[in-house]
Amino acid sequence: MITPIALAADMQGHLDLGTASVAALMGYLFVFLGIVLLMAVIVITGKIMSSKKVSPAEAPKAAEPQKAVEKKKAPGSAGELKLYDTDPKTAAMLMAIVADKMGKPINELHFKSIKEVK
């Protein structure tokens, strides 16, 4: 399809400044329009999905077991990982060494607890 802007070009395909400015402005606005519409679609999709994930009736039930898990944590802990006589810095270093030695990304490994053997 030949567009009106392309038709406005001379025989060699050159555009005058006015037509080129209109094309540039239209293009920039079109990119914004497309992105804004896409953003709206993504926001709506996200809302639909998050509302399905946690329905209001289920939400309080889900919160309770979380409390129970928190109670079980060891005195020194980082998330689910329990630390016994180990500071978080040393634990992070040990986890990095294990991941390196095993040749696996750290996010694919699950550490349950780290304890200093005395």
């Binding site: 802007i5 497309g34 996200g46 994930k53």
Partner: protein
């Protein structure tokens, strides 16, 4: 046997002899340019995966007598008055190795296959977590249209100006596909300009970022992004592909392949395919793309003022894309009450993940405890979609 005559014939037919025919010096200059590009790729590590291939393609195509690439065959292919218009037969029959490889560029296959790999390597999580950053990906296309206007003023035709402008999208495959469709005779110069400036982003962007932002703005720490569920990540490429392609069908090769690659990554059931797209496929296509794009830089056609104009306009496009992203970043900083660091705006120029790293680097210089990388990845990947939409618009307006 005429030994002297045979030796004379060998000397005349050798590539060395061809340097001394009329215009032969241009090949020597292009060989020097190719060696400079090799130096930048190998020693300075400027986008080496592509620049080394492009530079070596430029070297091979400018060795007189090698006959690896024949621009006259492609002229006939593109000439509507020619008997072999849009026919690959003469190229397959008479073309050299690089002519054959170039068919993948001409048919738009390589850039799209690369986009499958890019999609498979991209995490859209930060963008899904903070969709507002989509706007920065759109804002940073400013340079595309600014350079388009500048190219028109310098006397380039509409399709040529559109191809030059898309350098500002800072997206190599998008620039190559757009140029192949609109102004194939400029492909070599545009590809070299695009990849060179992408490699130079850590030098081009920081001065503009410092000029347009205050120290207070650069110090802003952004709140941690929400966690994005796996289901959201799977649905994202499907929704984007449906919506963007319906909105602008000309983006279908780029957006379709980008989102297909991303879906392979996110599904969790196509790990082997995702692995191939990210590694083997990406590497093979990068190899063919680089060397065949480099082959288009044939000396008599490349060494002219037009190429210098493209190099200059490419730089302008990159700078103004950065400016566009930063200005909208500043606007978002004001509107959010100082919660958004405007430095992430410059990452909207695409060039994943280099531009996001630059935002992180500049932000951390101002405030060493600041970590902007994940926040900058949102506009960074939005820039890929933004530049594809910009390319789709230009192809729609100026395509035959």
């Amino acid at each position: 046997m005429d030994i002297l005559g045979t030796l004379q014939g060998l000397a005349q037919d050798s590539g060395f002899g061809l340097f001394f025919v009329e215009g032969g010096w241009k090949y020597a200059v292009m060989i020097a340019v190719a060696c400079l590009l090799l130096y930048l790729g190998i020693v300075k590590k400027f986008e080496p995966l592509l620049l080394v291939g492009i530079a070596f393609g430029a070297l091979l195509t400018n060795l007189p007598g090698a006959g690896l690439y024949h621009p006259e065959l492609w002229d006939n292919f593109l000439d509507p008055a020619s008997e072999v218009y849009h026919s690959y037969a003469p190229i397959l029959a008479e073309g050299g190795l690089l002519d054959i490889l170039y068919i993948g560029v001409k048919a738009g296959v390589y850039p799209c296959l690369i986009f499958i790999g890019v999609g498979a390597m991209t995490d859209f999580g930060p963008l899904i977590a903070n969709p507002k950053t989509f706007l920065l990906g759109a804002a940073a296309q400013f340079g595309v249209f600014f350079a388009f206007l500048g190219a028109t003023l310098l006397g380039f035709t509409g399709p040529e100006a559109a191809s030059i402008g898309i350098i500002g999208g800072a997206d190599g495959p998008t620039a190559i596909l757009t140029t192949t469709l609109l102004a194939p005779h400029l492909l070599g110069a545009i590809a070299i300009a695009a990849y060179s400036y992408m490699a130079l982003i850590p030098m081009i962007q920081p001065p503009i970022m410092k000029l347009l932002t205050t120290p207070e703005e650069r110090k802003v720490k952004m709140v941690q992004l929400r966690e994005v569920s796996k289901a959201e990540k799977i649905v994202f490429p499907i929704v984007v592909a449906i919506f963007v392609i319906l909105l602008l069908p000309d983006t279908s090769p780029l957006i379709g392949c980008l989102m297909f690659g991303n879906l392979l990554k996110e599904t969790g059931v196509t790990e082997r395919l995702s692995d191939v797209a990210q590694n083997a496929l990406m590497n093979i296509v990068t190899l063919f793309l680089g060397i065949s794009v480099g082959a288009t830089t044939v000396a008599p056609r490349f060494l002219n003022l037009q190429t210098l104009g493209i190099v200059l306009l490419g730089l302008i496009a990159f700078c103004f894309s950065t400016v566009g992203g930063l200005l909208v970043g500043k606007l978002m900083y004001k509107l959010s009450g100082g919660k958004i660091n405007p430095l992430i705006g410059s990452a909207g120029v695409s060039a994943v993940p280099m531009a996001a790293r630059v935002s992180q680097m500049v932000g951390q210089k101002e405030n060493p405890s600041n970590f902007l990388l994940m926040h900058a990845m949102g506009p960074n990947v939005a820039g890929v979609i933004g530049s594809a939409i910009a390319a789709g618009f230009l192809i729609k307006v100026f395509g035959a």
